[in-house]
Symmetry: C2
């Protein structure tokens, strides 16, 4: 079950002027399940995004990049679950383009003004006919109050929908930021997460918007991992409609970025809290590194270790496994004698071994919590990095041994 | 349960002249369990080894390297299970040295002529008193026929003991090679495996022996992974007593290396077949790469993917997960359109997607086997690499969630 993660409340999600959302149950993989989302943007909105670095990136990722580059103004996004349209070769490309063409026809815009997104099983043909048949229903119920349903429509193995809203004052005016995301397994984003959409009614020029979405991704989705598997379909999109009339330039950037980052971090952490089979939410902070890269390298070695993850599942303070992971992380000149390891505030190891002050019952107490902090102090420099991950349980195996059935 | 892995038969393990083995139940972690092994070598034997690259390498690894470098001739090896003596700081170093000193006293040699090895839980103090108390028993039963018991004495979570013998004709004379290994979890050797000892009665000068053990490790233990966790205690030792009177120089090297590699590969594969919770043994062959490094990189991405491993556990041909792993392996200029993926002889994917000839029932048939081959043809060059791994089951989580209790 999700770890300390509350479901979003429909009434607490704030509409973003200039954004409408429509949902359909298109029967893509299962019947009677919301699995198709159309997001319509007002004319003049700017859109930026970051995408997976997986070489087997999905057809919709390729097409979305092309359409963004075409720079004709994006008017709609189409998202389906139940099928990733990845590892589908040239037919997959044709299906992604056909999805855009049909949505464009219904919405009265050009196909290049539509961005496609898919998530679900890899290497299965996309059922284009069902998507085409479902699109009119989604377009028919387009509305600005549908963020709650939209968050549900993009779920796959997610147990809890992920959605959050924030408001920020910019030049005395209120700007709204609302975002949704999905993801639970195949989570080790490398540019962005499985799928995330954050919209604001601020007006932000595209080049700045692209910088801001990259920065938000680096502060959020690029700091999480569930299983170390980087998806073929990762995408984080930032949509700015300008409908509030508030212009964001360099002077307003910091305040706006803070609000966007907060939404992105909340959505990213929700993915980990809802990680497949997760029973613990673990924050890994690595400090005192020579640079951020080595801090992240060590953090991910800990976060990906099946031995560390199963020990957390068992609440077993078998903390030597963390030392082993630090040791094989690939930092060749690491001096383990200078390193300190903490579990929350409990000093576990120093001088290359167990701390004299460490008592097993202190480690045990922290391990039993559902939210746990690991802190590694390297004693090599001033850089640091924070990652979020979860434990590894019977249910992870169960979910992934039976995902397709 | 181990995958198509037979337990060694006591009578089929061949003594190696010049090698005696003694075993004790020292109560290091549990009572009445063989957990201490002494290997005594005849004077004049040469010894070479490769060790873990983990920066948190165990105290006995540090001491073994020192004693090999001291070059006084190695006369004994002492191996304990139940405690890794890793992450134990300066006290751990003192305990490893004290173990050597006590064994040296009992055997009448110098402490620098003894190599220590430990395996078991990390970051717990080594119970030196129990080892010292157990050593006389091990020394008292030294004998050349004890390979079977020795293989059992070094087990931790292993279900089946690992031991094998080969004979090879060199210059018309028979040379014997017998080896043992242990390991089941924390298996992603990077120099060698958890613990492996291979002995021969050939005479091989130390510099050549060092080249041969490195080559054997690269062909065997450096090609396996269970969970991607590189141990703090990995060591593969090659012992050459010369008692057969057969000299191995450059002219005899190829024949000798072939025999040693065969023993090493057998022992390494046994570790994967006995991988924690394993139900499938998977051979991953990556061909057509630009160099071996990128073939191994892609092979390990597949071998480490929890999603791939759980799909194999479930016999679920959800083979898009393999494509995703290939895609995120980090080969930046990989052209996925040129790649072919086979499951045994079944062509699964080509031209960036599912092969037209692929039928789910063919994939299903292969996935149900207990020995499965994955073959990836990259279409980039002539290099190749073969790795061996296993699947990921409920029992892996169970074993590692309860290892210490």
């Amino acid at each position: 079950m999700p770890v300390n993660l509350s479901a979003p409340v429909a009434g607490e999600l704030l509409p973003v002027a200039g954004v409408e959302l429509g949902i359909a149950a298109a029967g893509i993989k299962r019947v009677n399940r919301k699995d198709l989302l159309v997001i319509r943007l007002a004319a003049g909105a700017t859109v930026a995004g970051v995408f997976t670095s997986n070489r087997f990136c999905a057809a919709p990722v390729v097409v979305a990049r092309e359409h963004l580059a075409a720079n004709q103004g994006i008017r709609a996004l189409v998202v389906n679950t139940g099928n990733a349209n990845a590892g589908t070769g040239e037919p997959g490309m044709q299906n992604a383009r056909a999805t855009c063409a049909e949505a464009a026809r219904l919405l009265g815009c050009a196909p290049e003004q539509v961005l496609p997104f898919s998530t679900g099983v890899i290497m299965e043909p996309l059922p284009l006919d069902r998507i085409v048949a479902g699109l009119p229903q989604a377009v028919a119920n387009l509305g600005s109050d549908n963020w709650f349903d939209a968050a549900h429509a993009i779920m796959t193995t997610d147990i809890v929908a992920k959605a959050v809203s924030k408001q920020v004052q910019i030049n005395g005016q209120t700007v709204t930021v609302t975002g949704i995301s999905k993801g639970s397994g195949m989570i080790h984003p490398n540019m962005a997460t499985m799928l995330g959409y954050i919209a604001t009614d601020a007006a932000i020029a595209q080049p700045l918007l692209q910088q801001m979405v990259k920065q938000a991704a680096d502060a959020s989705f690029n700091c999480i991992t569930v299983d170390g598997d980087t998806s073929t379909n990762d995408a984080l999109m930032l949509l700015a409609t300008g409908a509030s009339g508030v212009q964001v330039g360099e002077a307003e950037r910091a305040a706006m970025q803070t609000a966007i980052d907060a939404v992105a971090i909340s959505l990213a952490q929700a993915i980990v809290r809802d990680g497949e089979g997760a029973t613990k939410f673990i924050t890994i902070r690595v400090e005192g590194g020579k640079d951020t890269a080595e801090c992240r390298q060590i953090g991910y070695a800990i976060a990906h270790s099946p031995l560390v993850k199963t020990a957390f599942f068992a609440s077993d303070p078998n903390l030597g496994r963390i030392l082993a992971a630090i040791g094989y992380a690939g930092v060749a000149d690491l001096d383990v004698a200078k390193l300190r390891l903490y579990l929350d505030e409990v000093l576990v190891a120093e001088h290359g071994g167990r701390a004299a002050s460490y008592r097993e019952e202190d480690g045990q107490r922290v391990m039993r919590q559902s939210d746990i902090g690991i802190r590694v102090v390297l004693g090599r420099g001033a850089a640091s990095a924070t990652l979020w991950t979860c434990d590894f349980s019977y249910d992870y195996v169960k979910i992934n041994a039976s995902y397709r059935s």
